[in-house]
Symmetry: C2
Subunit: 266 residues, 2 copies
């Protein structure tokens, strides 16, 4: 499937990607959802409940995009964002107590960012990063339905390591179910911004042979490395299980391949 | 120097780290500044100028903490945060046109997060991440002084790759100087949150021999990998220069070492 077959988010003034030169904004669900679902840590921002506090709150959280009502919906379709974080945080309290006037929920801004490479140009001004970044806006409400909560917990756990849910002690106890809070974010708009390729320098610098003879230009690809699993002193399973070993191997391969492909502009 | 020799940020309700069990909050400058200055992408959040827009704006940016008035100040002393991002963004406009009533500048919340490992426990509920995360609140104003701007550009460039500034075409041209905008953030409070160690499971699960016999527990360490530098087709320098090769080698070593040490709770 190509990105153009994907559903798209509305392009509003607040989520329109502004950039001179090469257009970098994307609004299709597939691109945006893939960035979110491959990012281990999301950054979630929201207005605080204290009107004298000028600073938005910001929390790193785990999240996963899926649809409870259409569990088989492909990533190119509209999906909800499910968030999990530290329970008694201000966010969860706000989600419970401060619906907006329209009772839509708590307005959240969510960022997911992959750094793919350091772009080293002739001049500091043209240094850049290769990256894939998504920003989503939506209204969050706590998930109250037990089936939906259990389903979201499984999605979020398997979003950390493939197939981890079935390879751990399930189902959660009653206490675990009540102490775990999950937010469902109804996404109202979103955008992605992608930069790839190599450095792009000014013509005057490119004609400067002396400069070019001494200044290396290119890209240092970057990705998230997953190291050899380190067992807990209490671990009783001799061999690292297949679901973990496979995950580590694949993430390292995909990470490197993605970063290297980005240099070629793929 | 230990963290306790460091200057500290004030502990206010909005930046006090809340967490049951083991205390994870840190308020010393050294811990917070080190997290920021080793993070390649910061997430910057701020209220939008549109009062009908409930969503805070969020932008991934580059930044570095240092002091222009005391350039030799150690990382354990109060420092300013210098930010660089896409110029004509809403942020830079806001920084120029919307000082708060007290003319202090634009209120920003800045997050810097390192993911150090995936903590795999017996039960999904006790799964966690090892991480180092910092949240800073401060007031941003554009840097107008040419000397300070040039100094900040050098700091930010060398924050991407050590010593890159002197190994590229400097000084910037007049056009580059005017087209580059740098924000100086006067930090008013900040906190860090650190999680390390292995999984910590409930007693009932730890006594469940059948569960323990089949459920691997431990940590998958993670860090940012820097790959083999890929030269641009226009590159004329045969060998990858020392400042890049050294940086790549060191970052990979430090990244892995930090993630592995975190598992031991160091």
């Amino acid at each position: 499937m190509t990105d153009s077959d994907s559903a798209t988010y509305p392009k509003l003034p607040r989520n329109t990607v502004q950039r001179y030169g090469k257009p970098r904004g994307k609004y299709d669900c597939k691109t945006i959802h893939e960035i979110v679902n491959t990012t281990q840590v999301l950054h979630v921002s929201f207005p605080t409940s204290d009107p004298t506090d000028p600073f938005p709150a910001m929390i790193p959280m785990l999240g996963f995009m899926a649809s409870f009502s259409s569990p088989d919906a492909p990533i190119s379709e509209p999906l909800d964002l499910y968030l999990h974080g530290y329970i008694s945080s201000r966010l969860m309290r706000l989600g419970k107590t401060s619906p907006t006037d329209e009772e839509e929920g708590l307005p959240l801004t969510v960022a997911a960012t992959h750094l793919d490479g350091l772009v080293l140009a002739l001049t500091p001004n043209h240094h850049s990063y290769n990256y894939r970044s998504a920003i989503l806006h939506g209204y969050a409400t706590p998930v109250e339905d037990a089936d939906e909560k259990l389903w979201a917990m499984e999605k979020i756990t398997n979003g950390v390591v493939d197939d981890r849910w079935a390879n751990s002690r399930i189902p959660p106890t009653k206490t675990e179910m009540t102490s775990t809070q999950i937010l469902r974010v109804r996404v109202v708009d979103a955008s992605a911004k992608i930069r790839n390729g190599g450095p792009s320098d000014d013509r005057a610098d490119m004609k400067n042979d002396e400069l070019r003879a001494k200044t290396w230009i290119g890209v240092v690809p970057t990705w998230t490395a997953y190291g050899t699993p380190i067992e807990s002193p209490e671990n009783k399973v001799k061999k690292v299980p297949e679901h973990i070993a496979k995950f580590v191997k694949r993430e390292n391969e995909v990470g490197e391949k993605t970063a290297v492909s980005a240099v070629k502009g793929e």
